[in-house]
């Protein structure tokens, strides 16, 4: 019962979030960058529903604009990571030999770094900015995609239908696309979903320590950072942005778990 509730809540929340992101320009009550010097650090009011920050900018509009950035990064980075990771993982498992050894060793090395640390390193190398942020997060997620897809491919590679595909004359790409990928897709879809949550969190964290989106552009991490500097004067901006992050990450995790159950044929039969 509780599971059901959580899943429904997550779906509704993510649906709403998607609408907000798509229609951000229409929904925003104010320009997220416009400063109202007369209403700085104001509490909630009819004009500013969630109040304003220290520079007098509308918190609600900033959170909506920040959602856009968080979601773009949150979805783009795992997708980039998935494409790179899955191609490397399946290649490694499918061909074996030195290709596999190199890829696994590199993966092991990357796995020994904390994703956050890896993100910090890459942003430090490439410099802050939106694209670099996406690359950094994607890079941090690639190793887990390599591992999972390599493991699943190794299992599927043993199946007679893969031999069948080769023996009937399918080329390697065809065999992988038609027979390997569909059969390893379940766990990968689940992982991508859960990683969306993680990517949003990483983005927030990197922005929080100043390595992500650059002010005045709002992102959830930015908003929390700016809010924290005046947490005792006006706690609301940090609080609402933090809540947005938490709920989004939670929703993606719940959705990932639900997908896992749904895609697992053994559990589905019960």
């Amino acid at each position: 019962m509780l599971d059901r509730f959580f899943i429904r809540f997550s779906l509704v929340f993510l649906g709403a979030l998607a609408c907000v992101v798509v229609f951000a320009d229409v929904i925003q009550p104010h320009d997220p960058l416009a400063q109202d010097f007369l209403n700085r650090s104001a509490g909630p009011s009819a004009e500013y529903w969630l109040g304003t920050d220290t520079l007098g900018r509308d918190v609600l509009s900033r959170i909506i604009e920040g959602a856009r950035l968080s979601m773009i990064i949150g979805i783009a980075s795992p997708l980039i990571a998935a494409v790179i990771g899955i191609s490397m993982g399946t290649t490694a498992a499918y061909f074996g030999g030195w290709v596999e050894r190199v890829i696994t060793r590199v993966t092991d090395m990357m796995m020994s770094f904390d994703p956050l640390l890896l993100g910090v390193l890459i942003v430090a190398l490439l410099g802050p900015g939106l694209q670099n942020l996406a690359v950094a997060i994607a890079f941090a997620l690639v190793p887990s995609f390599i591992r999972l897809s390599r493991g699943s491919t190794l299992a599927v590679r043993q199946e007679a239908y893969v031999d069948a595909a080769i023996a009937m004359g399918r080329n390697t790409t065809g065999t992988i696309l038609r027979h390997v990928l569909p059969n390893i897709s379940g766990p990968l879809i689940v992982m991508t979903t859960i990683w969306v949550g993680t990517a949003i969190r990483l983005e927030a964290t990197l922005s929080f320590i100043g390595l992500g989106a650059q002010p005045p552009m709002p992102s959830w991490g930015n908003i929390v950072r700016e809010g924290v500097s005046d947490i005792f004067g006006s706690p609301l901006p940090a609080l609402f942005a933090g809540l947005a992050i938490t709920l989004t990450v939670l929703s993606f995790n719940v959705l990932g778990d639900a997908l896992r159950d749904w895609l697992d044929p053994e559990r589905r039969n019960q």
Binding site: E159, A160, D163, A164, A167, M168, N171, H179
Partner: protein
């Protein structure tokens, strides 16, 4: 000299063999992990329209021969020639043109069909890969046509493999192989996973389609009764080597190699009053990781002498189309059944 031993002869359907064999394996070897000699110098040929049964017990390397013949794995040494062309070292992309003429049926009907591909798409896949069928509705119509050929309803083209029984899946696997009218089908134990009452249907289907299309089979099996029913020629394998090849009639009436004799006498009788006199072989086949010296059958052979322990017997012709790898092989051999007292059991 391309052939060892006499090959001119009359086969099953009155087809005179003077032409190139479809598949010719020479001195074929496959070593796994540097020490497991799964296949260790196999010479074999499959001729047009014939069924060559490759028999042997588990671990003898017969399935590895199937995988080598299909080039699913590369041999360590030796050559594989398909219709006169050496395909031993061809890269996969160059093999594609060969593969239309070289198809397969695997043992396990449950794992040889991709669970995420519908029945119709699965059975038209070889045609699709080789550009012999269109897209969409055309492909589906073809799939339905194929399914009806093997006694399945065309209405089921969109069903998933798991919705079919084992026997039905094996029919799908068989029509998938036949859809491109191949010249050779490598069939690895195609009926051993099936229920007894379904098995005979599938054997008949295999024979009917063979007759219509004119395909040859490399039929791998451990079941001597099925082999007797379906084969034209028989090759016996033991620990990675061919021990004997012979036309079916010769093989079942007068097997020469002591192992062939033991293998045949081990088959359970088909009537309680016709219990056969049995050569029960002592012990188990040794592992392919440590093959015995000399003739690899010698530790279990009732006829073994010193020469067998030291010298590897070559496969040599002893009669029309009949080759045996045994030092004792002669046109009129001793039968080990006559050497042993009646009802003798294992003296391990």
């Amino acid at each position: 000299m391309r052939r060892r031993g006499p090959t001119g002869g009359v086969l099953g359907e009155g087809c005179v063999v003077t032409e190139e064999p479809i598949l010719k394996l020479e001195r074929l070897q496959k070593v796994f992990g540097g020490k497991i000699h799964a296949v260790d110098g196999v010479d074999l040929e499959v001729r047009k329209r014939e069924t060559l049964a490759l028999v042997g017990e588990s671990g003898c390397g017969k399935s590895t021969v199937a995988r080598l013949a299909l080039r699913l794995t590369a041999p360590t040494a030796g050559t594989i020639a398909f219709e006169g062309r050496d395909i031993t070292k061809l890269p996969q992309w160059k093999l594609k043109s060969i593969r239309r003429r070289l198809q397969f049926v695997f043992q396990d009907p449950y794992s040889s069909l991709d669970p995420r591909v519908t029945a119709g798409a699965s059975i038209t896949e070889p045609m699709f890969v080789h550009g012999l069928v269109g897209f969409g509705a055309k492909r589906k119509a073809k799939a339905g046509e194929l399914m009806e050929k093997v006694g399945l309803s065309a209405r089921h083209v969109d069903q998933w493999p798991r919705q079919f029984s084992g026997g039905q899946r094996q029919r799908l696997g068989i029509i998938r192989a036949f859809s491109v009218e191949p010249h050779l089908i490598v069939a690895d134990e195609p009926v051993s996973a099936l229920d007894v009452s379904v098995r005979s249907q599938v054997i008949n289907l295999l024979q009917d389609l063979q007759e219509t299309v004119g395909t040859a089979y490399l039929f791998i099996s451990h079941d001597m009764a099925t082999v007797k029913h379906i084969a034209d020629r028989v090759a016996v394998m033991y620990l990675g080597r061919i021990m004997e090849t012979a036309p079916k009639e010769t093989f079942f009436s007068a097997p020469h190699h002591p192992y062939s004799q033991a293998l045949l006498s081990a088959v359970p009788s088909s009537h309680p009053r016709r219990k056969r006199q049995r050569v029960v072989l002592p012990g188990d086949p040794p592992s392919p990781a440590k093959t015995p010296s000399g003739c690899r059958f010698h530790p279990r052979c009732p006829m073994a002498v010193d020469r067998c322990r030291n010298e590897v017997p070559e496969l040599r012709a002893i009669g029309k189309d009949h080759q045996v790898a045994c030092h004792f092989a002669a046109p009129n051999p001793l039968n080990v059944n006559e050497l042993l007292p009646a009802g003798s059991t294992a003296t391990a």
